[in-house]
């Protein structure tokens, strides 16, 4: 395999992993905020 192709493959692999991590992080942060909101609702309902 030519060096340039190897380098490209490596970069694509890197971008892919970076994208997956970013997407995963955004997903988890959103889950935490949604759970936080529902927890806030449960707490306000219980305290009524």
């Amino acid at each position: 395999m030519a060096t340039a192709e190897k380098s490209d493959a490596k970069n694509q692999g890197g971008e892919l992993i970076g994208g997956t991590i970013l997407a995963g992080a955004l997903y988890i942060v959103t889950v935490l905020f949604v759970l936080g909101f529902l927890w806030q609702s449960i707490a306000s309902f219980m305290l009524q």
Partner: protein, 501 residues
């Protein structure tokens, strides 16, 4: 705050290293440099702004900062990166040491497919969880509906702590402030209304002169954004001094509050009913007021046209109609009427929170129309067509051109998680009988900039997520969309069962 500065320092250093590497690889011109730098500065600024605002106890400002500076920073950074990658020439790297290249060689030979791991959870267990969830929802509805009725006396007493309170009528419930029969009439008549998100209770204070002296909000389960709009507009004050025999018709002798039309209409309906009851029963007046006409104006026509168009594939599939339709849904259903459906609307149906069709035709078109569309045709016409938030997501994704995805493991778990979130939100709604408590969608925040506490942070992350991932909110989180999908699946199953028989 010290940690924030430390974290920002790390991010700034990381960004500088990224820029340096990027400039080594591509010939950056002034446009690329300014785009990349501005994007990074805006993102860093938004983080500092958001943390500062949270520490000051202003989550709304934090969210707005993340949206205005953070999202625009991400958009600028992405566009500058795309411009550099596609338009700017790459600086040729001289391959010096082949040994190094060998060291980073990636094995791209197709790997043998690994045998699928046996699921830890047995199929019986997952079926038990599913049916357990359905049964618990039914129990929650029953418990919620059977829970104790409204304590009107407690509500009124809470507002008039220093005064004596006597109940003088049961239907409608009327309290007299002070001793019965003592002094001029000072009555509080109780009326309930059905808002967009849920019911509310109003006290109408009527004196012996047959005029309204005060409208007292006693309790509500309405979407907080709409309540805030009404309070900001000092809407209650508009009724002070009105005679109980007045018409109380929106558009005739009272106006609606823009952006909270359904709630104001419901409030006017409750006040009208209460005032007219007092006029007939207490003041022995003959009903001479105007009959309430059907509310069918431009707003209703626009919504009806949008709803009907959702059944025409050419409109929502083919260009340029697709884009025109999308802009119309964002503008009209979203920003103009703020009428996006939430899981609270669907759950409200189960709780019997159904506003009158005469005055809330928009609610009926969108909520009842969507549910009937599913029941009769088996089609969910709301999601990916009428939903204004989908339009926003689509446009954001078009700007970024990126379609990232979380890892496969996370994708697999996401299906169960969204079902869990839907279940939890429904349980909260059914037990509290308060649709707004479980509706975690950021629609009201997006289209009217109103939210409560932590809800403020859901909007920026949902928008940023949609920028990087295709239909991020719809796919992974939307409880309304998933509830509608469940209805479609339920209908299919029912039809299958009947066909098999």
């Amino acid at each position: 705050m010290g940690f924030t500065w430390y974290f920002l320092g790390l991010l700034t250093t990381g960004s500088a290293i990224f820029l340096w590497h990027f400039s080594k690889r591509y010939r950056l011109n002034w446009l690329a440099w300014s785009g990349l730098t501005l994007g990074i500065v805006l993102i860093l600024f938004s983080i500092a702004w958001a943390v500062g605002s949270v520490l000051e106890g202003v989550p709304r400002a934090a969210s707005m900062g993340l949206l205005l500076f953070g999202l625009s920073g991400i958009v600028i950074l992405t566009m500058a990166s795309r411009y550099t990658l596609t338009k700017r020439p790459e600086i040729l790297q001289i391959a010096t040491e082949p040994a190094l290249a060998k060291a980073v060689e990636i094995d791209i030979t197709p790997q043998k497919a690994k045998p699928a791991k046996a699921s830890i959870v047995s199929p019986y267990f997952s079926v038990a969880i599913r049916y357990g969830a359905y049964i618990s929802l039914i129990i929650a509805i029953v418990v919620g509906l059977a829970s104790e009725g409204k304590d009107y006396e407690g509500m009124v007493r809470n507002k008039f702590k220093d005064q004596k309170l006597t109940k003088v009528n049961d239907d409608p419930v009327v309290f007299q402030l002070g001793q019965k029969g003592a002094g001029p009439g000072n009555y509080v008549l109780i009326q309930e209304g059905q808002g967009y998100g849920g019911p509310f209770v109003l006290g109408i204070r009527i004196m012996e002169d047959g005029k309204i002296h005060e409208i007292i909000p006693l309790d509500h389960k309405e979407t907080p954004a709409f309540i805030k709009k009404i309070e900001d507009a000092k809407y209650r004050d508009r009724f002070v001094g009105k005679k109980v025999s007045d018409d109380f018709i929106v558009g005739m002798d009272v106006n609606a509050v823009s952006g909270a039309t359904v709630t104001t209409m419901a409030a006017v309906e409750a006040i009208r009913n209460g005032a007219h009851l007092a006029a007939v029963k207490k003041f022995k007046l003959k009903p001479k007021w105007e009959k309430v006409p059907w509310k069918f104006g431009l707003d209703e026509i626009l919504i009806l046209v949008i709803f009907v168009m959702a059944f025409v594939p050419r409109i929502y599939k083919e260009k340029p109609w697709k884009y025109i339709y999308m802009v119309a849904t964002i503008g009209i259903v979203g920003f103009y009427l703020n009428a996006a459906i939430s899981v609270g609307n669907i759950a409200g149906l189960a709780l019997g929170y159904i506003p009158g069709i005469k005055e809330h035709f928009i609610w009926w078109i969108l909520v009842v129309g969507t549910v009937l569309g599913i029941i009769i045709l088996g089609k969910n016409v709301y999601c990916y067509r009428i939903c204004p938030f989908y339009g926003i997501e689509y446009l954001l994704q078009k700007i970024s051109g990126m379609k990232l995805n979380p890892s496969r493991t996370l994708l697999k778990r996401s299906r169960s998680l969204v079902n869990f979130l839907l279940w939890l939100s429904l349980i909260v709604i059914f037990l509290s009988k308060h649709p707004a408590l479980g509706s975690y969608e950021p629609f009201a925040m997006m289209f009217s900039l109103n939210g409560v506490g932590i809800q403020w942070f859901i909007l920026p992350v949902a928008l940023i997520g949609s920028f990087f991932m295709s239909t991020f909110w719809c796919r992974f989180f939307c409880p309304c969309g998933h509830a509608l999908t469940k209805l479609v699946q339920f209908r299919k199953k029912l039809i299958q069962i009947f066909r098999n028989r």
